[in-house]
Amino acid sequence: MKKYENKLLQNLRHIKRGNKIDGGWAEETPRPRDSEQYYRKRWAYDKVVRSTHGVNCTGSCSWAVYVKDGIITSETQQTDYPSTGADFPEYEPRGCPRGASFSWYTYSPIRVKFPYIRGDLYELWKAEREQGYDPVKAWENIAADPEKRAKYVRARGKGGFVRAHWREVCEIIASSTIYTIKTYGPDRVVGFSPIPAMSMISYAAGSRFLSLIGGTILSFYDWYADLPPASPQVWGEQTDVPESADWYNSKYFIIWGTNLPQTRTPDAHFMVEARYNGTKVVGVSPDYAEYEKFADVWLPARAGTDGALALAMTHVILKEFYVDQQIPYFIDYAKTYTDLPYLVMLNENDDDVRSDRFLRASDVNDQHELGEWKTVVWDETIQQLEIPNGSQGFRWDGGNQWNLDLQKEDGTMINPLLSFIHQADEHMQVNFPYFATKQGNIVQRGIPVKHVQDKDGNRKKVTTVYDLMMAHMGVSRGIPGDDAAHYDDPDHPYTPAWQESLTGVNQTQAAQVAREFADNAARTKGKSMIAMGGGTNHWFHSDHIYRSILNLVLLTGSQGVNGGGWAHYVGQEKVRPIEGWQQVAFAGDWATPPRHQNGTSFFYFATDQHRYEVKPEEEEETEWGSKYARMHPADVNAMSARLGWLPSYPQFTQNSIDLVNEARERGAKDNQAIVDDVVEQIKDNKVNWSIEDPDNPQNFPRVLFNWRSNLLGDSGKGHEYFAKHLIGGEDQVMSDPEQSWQPDSVNTDGEPPEGKVDLLVSIDFRMTSSGLFSDIVLPAATWYEKYDISSTDLHPYVHPFNAAINPPWEAKSDWDTFREISKVFSELAEDHLPAQDELMTRPLNHDTKAEIAQPYGKIKDWREGETEAVPGKTMPSMQVVHRDYPKVYEKMTTIGPNIKNGYGGKGVTIDGEPAYKDLLERLGKSKREGVGKGQPDMHEDKQAIEAILTMSGATNGKRAVASWKSLEAKTGQNLSDIAAGREEEAWTMDDLTAQPRHSISTASWSGLEKDNRRYSPFTANTEYLIPWRTLTGRQSFYLDHEMMLDYGEGLPLYRPPLTHGPYVKGEKEAEENGKSITVRYLTPHQKWGIHTMFTDTTPMAQLFRGWQTVWMNEEDGASIDIKDNDWIEVYNRNGAIAARVVLTYRIPRGSAYMYHAQDRTMGVPGTAINKQRGGTHNSVTRVTVKPTHMIGGYSQLSYGFNYTGPTGQQRDTMAIIRALKEVDWLED
């Protein structure tokens, strides 16, 4: 019984002695232990709710959120993932310190609790409304009046928010949207939100609204430069990677520029644990990164030189495993799954012999349907040309031979020859470009050549990709003239000694690692893996760094094998239930096509970064020469848009609605006539491409939605250009357009405009830089206050968000927010914006027949008269689209009937009727009046979740089986057993809440998951003979598009990092102010946040040093008289940063790391240079776009949203660092 004593007795109780033990040394506890109740009570809680963090992170970890007394108190990781099986490490407990700090936000002072609006704008709005103007007119009065507009635009980013009512802000947003559509066209309404997988419903909320109104939806993966262009180039796949548990299957694991413990925190243990199972781990990094702790060998390659190391390793593998000995496993793999045996023609121009495009069936005869898209090999057995199945032509010729089966109709097998070395008709000296040094030379190498007859009886000289690779890599095979390169020959590419001179990596170690990597693959049939990421991918020439590294996994037969292949980890994400999600997110159910715009091109022009380009110095020219490398990237981008390669929204200077109306006025009777009319107008330069006049106010993006994103504090590369040109806020741009390189075909007359956007709306639960610059900030529900779903590449599960508490204050989920906006929009549209038709352009898309629009990869510009202007062929496709604006709300909240026609992606179609029937049952019918009545109801976020789960193969077995059936029809292969056994599975939200579920193999992805197998990409290709979605249908070493060859980039080669800046010649430099140092400026991902998320919490700030900080070498620091934790400023022509310095010897001299995305909202004083608030990590960056990424209309190089397009690289940056002598908080 509980005893009650008086206080005095209680206080004296501890004097009581216990039983003495250990010879009187200790005593057993005699005391009452009442005080143990305090911590027991703290631990008690009322409920635990399963949720997760919708942050741009590949973790996708399931969390337990604790609620006590109605308050969210804390979170711990869930540990109940379905098992990976006996003898295999489990996924529990996925999470990281960042996620663990999330509950801090719920009640924190940084929380946006109510709708806020810029005070100046609110005053203007109030005044208009009080004068009796209706909302749309009120907006027009403000936006169209330069003085009124300037009043609030110029106030951006300077504080002064006021609270507003939800209804009011919705009216302002809806009115500005309607006004913009009417005045400029729907494509001037733009939305940016990244990474759907992190919270699919919240993404879909905004993208569905934008899709219905015809607004522009920006891509993010390419813009973030996380897209590895090598992936579409090599595989025709955006990105597909192994789940992290598959690392445990690897037996040799190279970690190459991706900081697994720091940025793949929940996954890293699989790599660590694999080591105990006998796996060797090698780390390549330019600093002693966290992952080196787990390496057996550290190869410290200098930043940006990774390609050189990879090529030397390629050299070693080719020499030792293809020439000195032949590994049957490697040879079979190369013949079946790579383009190495495919024939390439040679282009002889006097002495200058270069490799040309692939030989096609159409070159040798006319017997093949789509023969210009069918590639050719030499059969080693029967000594003649063969056209194996599976190349691009087979995909679209209407047959069912799109497969990798080398068996011919007569039952015999094609035996592709890898090398003509033993049966060459002649040897030729072929030129290869060499860019490793400025004024690089051409490398000449001997190759074996075969003579074949073309269909006109002419002799064609051909060789194989394999022979080209061998020659290019400098592997001696005894061919006359060949540069016999020894490993320790430092002068000839691509030897181990050659790489040492560039990378600093000891040549013996480099060769040793290459040898072990290949030997391991030979022993294990491909269980050699390379994890790669931001450190290797964020470079201007990332495609070549990646292709060089991919050489290693392709040559060792490691790709498409569990435990082997590439493992790209930066910003990659996976919406596992992709088929259904796409329908909900882009309103395919209502057949109103979305405008998918590649983000990099959009921001490049919208922020006027194209007017600050740096012209390559003439001394950088090489003997190779290149027409397109000398073109201004903006000119190439404009050409790309014109030829239908890349999308380009806003489309035309003219409103896309007006185009239709005017064509009709001119007598166009039907849609085809309207398109024809517009094409004529374009040819006559009466309709103008917006991309050629981006600074014309007609072409400004007018309304910009930013949700689930901190565009300005985080991902706005060239932050200061954003601030200046797009936003019109305070900026620190120091570069001079006059001294910069200007394009020809893009109009740059006049001063670059400032403040292009009429209305900037941010939706967030915390105040970030993006919020600070916005006109309206809407209070979002946090991730513990809403329903959604999450998935990732890194694990195979789909799991939910659940609301632990309802959104507090006036917060709303994104789904509810966009639903409310669409409701007000539709109400106002009744009077202001009736149903309209508009003309919509779209690029030549990958995985549609448009990808074979431009044969042989030859560039033909209709404007130059090189070809006819034909929509969908030589220019973008065009269609007339009906947009019923007053019905947007009804469509937003129901599933449309178009589903019944079937749906899918990547060329895979799922039966629509059964899915639609399931939807009606699971979602219920809408009873709301209007066009959606009787359709499946999607008013609530939970219904949207069920819709996605029902329609997607990963979460619904019937859909999965349907997807494989669809692929069977094209490939002629038996694929139905891939998903067999799981057909009856149909996960619901409640199922996922009970426990995360293992996704089902679906034809939208390339990995096999049956029998609890770990996901590894392309295992479906290697095991079921499904082609890659490339020209040859195989994994590509060689890219034969005209622009690629012109650039000299047909084969993987070494291109050194650029060294832009810090200024261009002639620019005014910052005033001298003591010692300074110029460094390579790198922004790898940080440890204390996922981008700017979590970084602003007090746990994360205190676990390091608070923000912002920049790391550099301590000797470099000493050279400019700064000590650890001193204030510094970092600057160049692009802008300036104020930060504190972290000195270390872990980073080599000459580079500085400003870990990515600390945001400038915390602890950032003014800079001395400009006396303005110090910038973000992106204030000294500017995107550099690579023209070869703009290629389109050509097989795997055709456009796809987040699949191709120039990436927003920013790593090739030089910046100056010096002490910031006076700290001014600029609080005046």
């Binding site: 550290w298 410290p300 000195l1143």
Partner: protein, 496 residues
Amino acid sequence: MRIKAQVAMVMHLDKCIGCHTCSVTCKNTWTNRPGAEYMWFNNVETRPGPGYPKQWEDTKRFKGGWFLKNGKLSLRAGGPMSKLTKIFYNPNMATMEDYYEPWTYDYDHLIHSPKKKHLPVAQPKSMITGQYMDKPEWGPNWDDDLAGGSESVLMDPTVQKLQEHISMEYEKTFMMYLPRICEHCLNPSCVASCPSGALYKRDEDGIVLVDHDSCRGWRFCMNGCPYHKVYYNWNTHKAEKCNFCYPRTEAGLPTICSETCVGRIRYIGVVLYDADKVKDAASVEDPQDLYEAQLGVFCDPFDPEVIEEARKAGINEEWIKSAQDSPVYKMAMKWKIALPLHPEYRTLPMVWYVPPLSPIMNHITNSEELQTDGYIPAVDQMRIPVEYLASILSAGDTDVIRQVLLKQTAMRVHMRAKNVGGVDDVAESQLIEEADTTVEELEDMANLLGVAKYNERFVIPTGRREMDDDLQYQQGACSIEELAPPEGVAPPIQQR
């Protein structure tokens, strides 16, 4: 023989990814409130580095733990008389500068700033004074990943001792992480340091706690603990420390730091020890003998005599079975791969550490040396100096460290031989012999360290609450005793 049960932990440093999740989840649960801002019951240190609080291993300054005075075990900080002289000013106590001044930011300003000339910013401000500060000057993990470079590293007391072995240059860089909680020692000097007798070691599971009702805030525990793991709450004026999450372990759940450990480095299990051997073990002359002496305190849970004695001591079958299945027993006592942190403090700490492997030095390019068997580098080429590890984990005895590293390497080589091949049989068996182990043991190790299923990492019997006061009463009244005084109406509740 007096058998007692102790719930203990192993942290496998080779697995630690230095992510600090443990610190955050622990803090959210236990010390996220005024007065506790600087309390990190669990923290993670980058080594080499000064640790938290700064240079806590400097026993000369802080005078924590025990030492041998004329062969007799004594508190380094002095006995009761000496304490009395320092009771109002203890010169050996760490100050706020050794910890840090907790800070936050003026977040509110971002939302509510009036219109100004420049972008609003949230300035840092002290959580202690509420005043703006220009910049934080130190924190609980200020030197993460060698931040501060040689300036920070030179503050490491171990580095100061071992300068000739440690070179602070890029190519020779090494680092490791050291997560720390309270050691829940068998011979806790914090308990002995408290003038109020407010600290105690629980008899049933060995968890060391502060009795908050008795604590008078004298703070001798703060520096009396050589690990500096007792904190003082300036708000409540009571000491607080890691409680091994007893509300969880009593329910059979691992501690928060273990449950949420993303590197899966933590193992929790029961060990049985003879409480009558503690003093002698802590009193051996040579500090390098302390590790072996400590091992001598533990009992073999399979020994029938031990089992009998344990039963007599009231240790029930489930606890005995847990001791038999204990991962801590396997790693620390059986395989001897987990070592105590600073055994020379003579507190017999009960958190054990497996020392980490590390990459070979870059200057090793001799292909013979590179070509070690199965591609796994040999122990003597690794870049973390064995002397450094020994200084932390074995009172300087490098042989102990080398042996553990050898065993881990042998495990990797053997598993590679088994799963991949390409390993020379003779070389492998030589390695196994040198590591003094067997194939069976190595495979058991690979399973526990690598596969590491939840139920094998954490073997925790539920708390023995049956020895508590009236459980039937508490079933309905716990946490609301004030509303439900036990007297009741009638009949009186059955008493034990």
